[in-house]
């Protein structure tokens, strides 16, 4: 296996041009997507391409090199009372900005203001022809040209290598409180999630630990939180319990860091809606897999046992018309289950990567 590390945009461009097969990697927190699957694929390490390029707190935007650890961005933002509302996952493990964008992953906070796709406003990346190109811009509102920043979200390193990303950022709430509801079963929990998601209480995160535990987080000025938490706890027929601050923080950290996933299982992310959760959960339980659901049951985080072939999950997701991505474990096909986009996806790939430099040839 060959590996190349780059620390400048020129070096990145040269490395892409010099290698017929390339798989970009940042901190390697999602190795199923970033580890080279075969000896003839060059591992392109962009973790040296780091640093904040521009951050003006009054502007509520931040531009950084793709290899910058998310934790470094969060620290810089926190110093000005700001944050990334989509809670990038695996930040504690060292996840980089480029890896978060390319994997299209968001954490619990995505429920409130949106996922990573809603915060990426500009990108620079090296396409499959070895050209450094830009899309979007550095202002929060921009409708000029094709939306390449969005296309790069979830591109999984298969359409180009991210070099720089501009994000929209928001003021950080001063404090948060979490209320837990024990609903006794999956159907009741999903009904509770649907009800809470429709307001009127403005939740910061809404997660489901199957079968029946719902976690709702509210955020804002510390003064107002106790009364708001009391109102939230009384919002459903089943009373909620306010978690102790330490327990709440630990629970959300475990969700964002995927640290609840046991040894002997790999993390897989699956796009869902509340309607599809019962069938998915049944298939997972049948395979001995655990799951946790985030963003009002719009995403499943699956702990898929190593003892089970990934092909079984691929099949199960396909049968349910769901799509997923393996994040950890050995290199895997980028997409599991139902593949959407057909001719549109194929044509975009042909335009961005005509020589199949970033192609996904892994079998499941």
């Amino acid at each position: 296996m060959t590996a190349v590390a780059v620390d400048s945009l020129d070096a990145l461009r040269d490395a892409v041009r010099a290698n017929a097969r390339v798989r970009p990697v940042g901190a390697g927190t999602k190795p199923a997507l970033s580890a080279p699957p075969r000896d003839d694929v060059t591992s392109l390490d962009v973790s040296g391409l780091r640093g904040i390029v521009e951050y003006d707190a009054a502007e509520l935007t931040l531009t950084a090199r793709a290899g910058t650890p998310v934790a470094e961005l969060e620290e810089a933002l926190a110093a000005h009372g700001q944050y990334l509302p989509f809670d990038p996952p695996l930040a504690g493990a060292g996840a980089t900005l480029g890896g978060v964008v390319a994997s299209g992953t968001s954490g619990p906070g995505a429920f409130h203001y949106g996922t990573v796709r809603d915060f990426v406003i500009g990108v620079r990346f090296v396409d499959g022809t070895g050209e450094l190109v830009a899309g979007g811009g550095r202002v929060v509102k921009n409708a000029a040209g094709f939306d390449l920043p969005k296309l790069m979200v979830g591109s999984l390193g298969r359409l180009g290598v991210l070099a720089e990303v501009t994000l929209k950022v928001f003021p950080r709430p001063a404090a948060s409180t979490t209320v837990a509801f024990e609903l006794g079963g999956l159907d009741a929990a999903l009904a509770a999630i649907a009800r809470l998601a429709r307001g009127p209480l403005e939740l910061d995160a809404l997660d489901l630990e199957p079968p029946g535990r719902v976690l709702a987080r509210i955020a804002g000025d510390a003064d107002g939180l106790p009364a708001r938490a009391a109102r939230l706890a009384a919002a459903l027929d089943a009373p909620g319990a306010t978690l102790a601050p330490g327990a709440a923080a630990a629970s959300w950290r475990a969700a964002a860091e995927l640290s609840w996933i046991p040894a002997g299982a790999r993390a897989v992310r699956v796009a869902t809606t509340a309607r599809e959760v019962p069938a998915l959960q049944a298939a997972l339980v049948a395979a001995g897999a655990q799951a946790r659901y985030g963003n009002a049951a719009n995403v499943a985080w699956v702990a898929w046992p190593d003892a089970q072939p990934l092909a079984r999950l691929d099949e199960a997701l396909g049968a349910l018309h769901l799509a997923g991505t393996a994040l950890t474990g050995p290199p895997a096909a980028a997409l599991l289950g139902a593949r959407r986009g057909g001719a549109f996806a194929a044509r975009l790939r042909a335009a961005l990567d005509p020589d199949n430099r970033f192609a996904d040839e892994e079998t499941i």
Binding site: G137, A143, G145, M152, L201, R275, R347, A351
Partner: protein, 471 residues
């Protein structure tokens, strides 16, 4: 007008084929076509070969396939409200009118989504969702007439983007026909898509990737409380500084809008919103949970009182709020009271450079003697200078266009964009080279060529003309 050639004749025969059943919904008489010659950018008009009034998705697909077979260009059209000439017909091409495909097909309160046809009116989506306590957030000023298909194609914004984002942030799934008639499913109903964001890429593509046939939208809960503040200032600069203070205080209003004296005068002359006379008016709106809005409203009031405002008025009354927004949203048409013609621009500047940008526009206006009214989304730096002129004066349109171009150039120089929410269309494609490097535009052209090799889907929009690009 030249006589119809062979491809045109063959295409007309194809869309008139009895099996397709379009019958009288294929318009070709000059009188019928005249109504479709322009969109809201009335300085441009073209005569299409025919207009097809589609009522079903399969009809749209059949017409696109016929266009592909015969090599005839086409453009989809909703209500024709594009301010960038995005739905301007292609001379000798087909206009596929989608306003009859206007149904909200379903609203799912359990997933907070709606599925709609492309011709559904923006405001009708919220109306259909209201009984579930839900709404569709993006609110272009033309929301009572503009369609979701057009919003999607141009990634439209609105006054409340500051908090809610633009159209692309609210489109989850698209069923579309590509320019060669191929059908694709992009995204779905989940807010956490897997794989490249193809839905996001299709949004804002200005019709160059084909036509959306069915759209899955994200709905948001109707806010429990809404608080609107109206502050008057003796100068635009003071109003701009107040916006900076709100941002610096860590507040996140849903909207922050500024209107200058000329825009206030126009609004008062037309819809009489009862604005106080001022050099500048700032509208700030808060929405959310009852107790949070109440606390934020008190903080906002203190900030505005300390910001040098000559008067501050607040309301939580829906009727009064509606009137305030009616004045703001009618500002474009209202300047018709001040001058026979106007150009509206849509440039964006970094929000910290708003004051600089406005001062510069003021200088340009004074130097050219051309009146400019300003209404803008101050919270996100999106300017809408309204350049007033009288088209009957020789050279007046050209002078106004020159000034509009200078304003866009300034926006890019300040680090912004040539368009925040109206799209490039036919109007601003010559300015794309200000924003993007040759290699960026080359990639966009390569993408376009891969998706639509024959360049039949809305050619002549967004991408700058080839000859200039080659130079």
């Amino acid at each position: 007008m030249s006589a119809a050639g062979d491809p045109e004749r063959a295409l007309l025969a194809a869309v008139r084929a009895p099996a397709l059943g379009l019958g009288e919904r294929v318009l070709t008489s000059p009188a019928e076509l005249a109504a479709f010659g322009s969109d809201a950018l009335t300085a441009f008009h073209e005569r299409p070969l025919a207009v097809v009034l589609a009522e079903r998705a399969d009809e749209v697909v059949a017409v696109v396939r016929a266009c592909h077979r015969e090599g005839v260009p086409f453009v989809a059209r909703g209500s024709g409200t594009s301010l960038s000439g995005g739905s301007l017909p292609i001379a000798g091409g087909i206009v596929i009118a989608l306003n009859r495909m206007n149904r909200v097909l379903s609203v799912d309160p359990d997933t907070c989504t709606a599925v709609v046809e492309p011709g559904a009116i923006n405001l009708h989506v919220s109306a259909a969702a209201r009984s579930h306590g839900l709404a569709y957030a993006p609110d272009p000023s033309s929301q009572s007439v503009c369609t979701i298909g057009g919003n999607l194609a141009f990634n439209s914004g609105g006054a409340h983007c500051l908090r809610h984002g633009m159209t692309a942030n609210h489109v989850l799934g698209i069923r579309a026909v590509l320019p060669d008639g191929e059908l694709v499913e992009l995204g779905g109903a989940s807010r956490e898509p897997v794989g490249p964001d193809l839905t996001g890429m299709f949004c804002g593509s200005e019709g160059l990737f084909g036509i959306a046939l069915e759209v899955t939208l994200r709905l948001v809960p109707i806010a429990e409380a809404t608080h609107t503040a109206l502050a008057s200032y003796d100068s635009l600069e003071l109003a701009g500084e107040a916006v900076a203070r709100v941002v610096a205080a860590g507040m996140l209003p849903v909207a922050m809008e500024i209107m200058d004296a000329l825009a206030i005068e126009a609004a008062e002359a037309s819809v009489r919103p009862g604005y106080p006379p001022a050099a500048a008016l700032l509208i700030v709106e808060l929405e959310g949970e009852r107790d949070v809005v109440a606390a934020d409203a008190a903080r906002l009031r203190a900030l505005l009182d300390a910001s040098g405002a000559s008067a501050v008025r607040t309301t939580e009354d829906p009727g009064e709020r509606a009137l305030i927004w009616k004045g703001r949203k009618s500002a474009f048409s209202a300047v018709g009271w001040l001058a026979p013609d106007y150009i509206v621009q849509d440039g964006v500047v970094p929000r910290t450079r708003l004051g600089e940008a406005l001062a510069e526009i003021g200088r340009m206006s004074a130097a050219t003697g051309i009146r400019v009214a300003n209404v803008f989304h101050a919270g996100d730096g999106n300017l809408h200078p309204l350049i007033l002129f009288d088209g009957r004066e020789p050279g007046a349109l050209e002078r106004a266009e020159r000034l509009a171009g200078e304003i866009l150039r300034m926006c890019v120089l300040l680090g912004g964009s040539i368009t925040g929410e109206h799209g490039v269309g036919v109007e601003k494609r010559d300015y794309m080279e200000l924003m993007f490097a040759p290699e960026d535009l080359a990639l966009m052209r390569r993408v376009r060529a891969a998706v639509d090799p024959a360049e039949l889907a809305n050619p002549g929009k967004m991408l700058p003309p080839r000859a200039e690009a080659a130079a």
